[in-house]
């Protein structure tokens, strides 16, 4: 069962992937192994595909480096839950096909290490006997996510959702 990795407020993209470990610096094949290298060095070793990342407020502020969420995608992260998002990070998640859920209440309720099930389409989250309802992504994003990512959507349709 997927595990919750919980972080605090204002986790920036330097935290998620320090600049010195950009693919540009260390190579395309291993940059993801440095995810959270400063903050939680064990993360990249222990995270499993399908695990859920949970952030507090203003998740992913800072640099526009898409290789930060891309490292998470490579490690098998399909969904993020945060109290609020920084703009570029939010776009990058959608562009990569990682679903960005937003909820104060659910973030407060979840603990690091929790085992949960999450339905990416409906936003239903189950922990033991508890059920939480996350708001599904808006239609524009859902359309893109259903094709895999915004890139896949554009490749298939030659236009942006709703255009």
């Amino acid at each position: 069962m997927p595990r919750v990795w919980k972080f605090g407020d204002h986790i920036n993209t330097d935290d998620i992937l320090p600049g010195k470990y950009a693919p540009f610096m260390v190579g395309e094949d291993r940059f993801h192994t440095f995810a959270f290298a400063h903050l939680r060095p064990e993360f990249a070793q222990e995270v499993k595909p399908g695990d859920i990342l949970v952030f507090g407020r203003n998740a992913g502020l800072g640099s526009s480096r898409e290789y930060a969420p891309e490292a998470l995608k490579r490690l098998g992260i399909r969904a993020v839950i945060a109290k609020s998002y920084a703009r570029i990070f939010f776009r990058n998640l959608v562009n990569l096909g990682i679903v960005p859920f937003e909820s104060e209440e659910v973030v407060d309720a979840l603990e690091d290490g929790d085992r949960v099930e999450l339905d990416l389409e409906t936003g239903v989250l189950v922990r033991g006997g508890e059920r939480f309802a996350l708001r599904p992504p808006p239609p524009f994003l859902l359309e893109a996510l259903r094709e895999g990512s915004l890139l896949d959507y554009y490749k298939k349709h030659g236009r942006f959702p709703g255009e």
């Binding site: 204002h10 540009f24 610096m25 400063h38 898409e66 990058n92 554009y154 942006f160 709703g162």
Partner: protein, 421 residues
């Protein structure tokens, strides 16, 4: 109900009146790609089986690690040059400077243009009235392939700067004060619309770039400085290009420049802004003057003014990295560079330098750096416990001489000076 400047620009682009909250798809006038993500950009274009739709609207700048620091970087930069030649894309190579400075110098950001850049500080283009915003590699690749991008029309926060800066206080101090008041998330997804009044119109293009640059540190999508002063001499500003008096703002903030004092941003968040007086005396190992925030000629001159006839304190490294080749040339011609060198500074290749901790001044564990850059996040310039204090070029220069965080005024009364009196 009138329109904000962001709403006006996007309405003009879309061809109908659009309001905050709407999703729109707009034509892009300039796509800026930096070296560190160029590989991802090429990969995504290849995946789309596309080439740039308007090659003349794309610029690639080699600035983040320039010259190349290792083999990976060298290979990536070689690919940029080859790709640029193959597709007829403008490439600004090693030494030309920091992307945002270069695009402004080259006239590749104009009032009313949509400029999307693969660097979060693309808000800098708002200094000249361009709708500049940062995006990740996928968005940038889509913008190059399609000539368009999708945007949510942003709400706006109005920030009014009034009056004139006192001597020794700079646009950087004003920008840090703005981030303090807005907080790191206070303008998330919004436009920061900057009004300069009652003397503040005198701020130069470079000073406006410093203000617009730091709006992203409050989470802003775009930081638009309403054109006035020298911008009107340097650019063709259309008549419609002003916010309506009855435009709607989420919030309004006023900053009186005449009462401002030197500011410093204390680790590990940009909005953790204090008066320099509160951290005065903090020991310093490295001082870095440069970047898209404060690497312009006026910044180097301000530092030189403080350093003239003085020496950097023993054990302190002073790195000066001009924001562009043009800045470097001008600073050489007018003697600014010699003043800096005589004071003990070392000069680096125009570009981003050590701003994001990849080369040219990485910090060792426990070290302290005063930097004129824009981010002091944990581990950004090297060791996770190294500390970065963000300040103006004047405070940075004074701190290099004192060996601890200080203002130029502190130097006049320092023990070193009195010993020679």
């Amino acid at each position: 109900m009138g329109l904000t400047l962001a709403e006006k620009i996007l309405s003009k682009k879309v061809g109908r009146e659009v309001r905050a909250g709407e999703l729109v798809v707009v034509e892009v006038d300039q796509v800026m790609v930096v070296d560190s993500i160029a590989g991802s950009f090429f990969k995504r274009l290849a995946y789309l089986e596309a080439t740039p739709r308007y090659p003349e609207r794309v610029s690639i700048v080699i600035d983040h690690v320039a010259p190349a620091a290792n083999l990976e970087v060298a290979k990536a930069q070689k690919e940029i040059r080859e790709w640029g030649r193959k597709h007829g894309i403008r490439v600004f190579d090693v030494g030309r400077g920091v992307c945002h400075q270069v695009l402004i110098e080259e006239g590749l950001a104009q009032p009313g243009w949509i400029v999307v850049g693969s660097d979060s500080h693309s808000t800098t283009y708002g200094a000249v009235g361009a709708f500049g915003t940062g995006m990740g590699a996928t968005d940038i690749a889509l913008a190059a392939a399609s000539g368009r991008t999708w945007l949510r029309v942003p709400e706006s926060v109005k920030v009014t700067f009034r009056g004139r800066l006192p001597k020794g206080v700079t646009a950087k101090d004003a920008a840090l004060e703005m981030v303090r008041l807005l907080t790191a998330e206070g303008a998330t997804y919004m436009a920061v619309e900057i009004h300069l009044q009652e003397g503040a119109e005198a701020l130069s293009r470079g000073e406006r770039m410093t203000l617009a640059n730091l709006t992203v540190e409050a989470g802003a999508k775009v930081g638009l400085v309403v054109p006035s002063g020298e911008i009107l001499d340097l650019y063709q500003v259309p008549d419609w290009f002003y916010p309506d008096p009855d435009a709607r703002y989420v919030r309004e903030v006023e900053i009186d420049l005449s009462r401002l004092t030197p500011r410093v941003s204390v680790p590990f968040y940009v909005d953790n802004v204090h008066e320099v007086a509160e951290v005065r005396g903090k020991r310093v190992d490295q001082v870095f003057i440069g970047t898209c925030t404060n690497g312009r000629l006026e910044d180097l001159r301000a530092a030189a003014e403080v350093l003239r006839g003085k020496r950097v304190a023993p054990g302190v490294r002073l790195l000066v990295i001009p924001a562009s080749s043009q800045v470097l040339e001008e600073a050489t011609r007018d003697g600014t560079l010699l003043t800096l060198l005589e004071a003990g500074a070392t000069i680096g290749t125009p570009g981003c330098g050590p701003c994001m901790g990849r080369h040219m001044g990485v910090l060792a564990p426990g070290e302290v750096c005063v930097s004129t850059s824009n981010r002091n996040f944990r581990g950004r310039m090297g060791a996770p416990d190294a500390e970065i204090y963000l300040a103006s070029p004047r405070v940075a220069a004074a701190s290099a001489v004192a060996g601890y965080i200080a203002t130029p005024e502190d130097l006049a009364s320092s023990p070193q000076e009195e010993a020679h009196a």
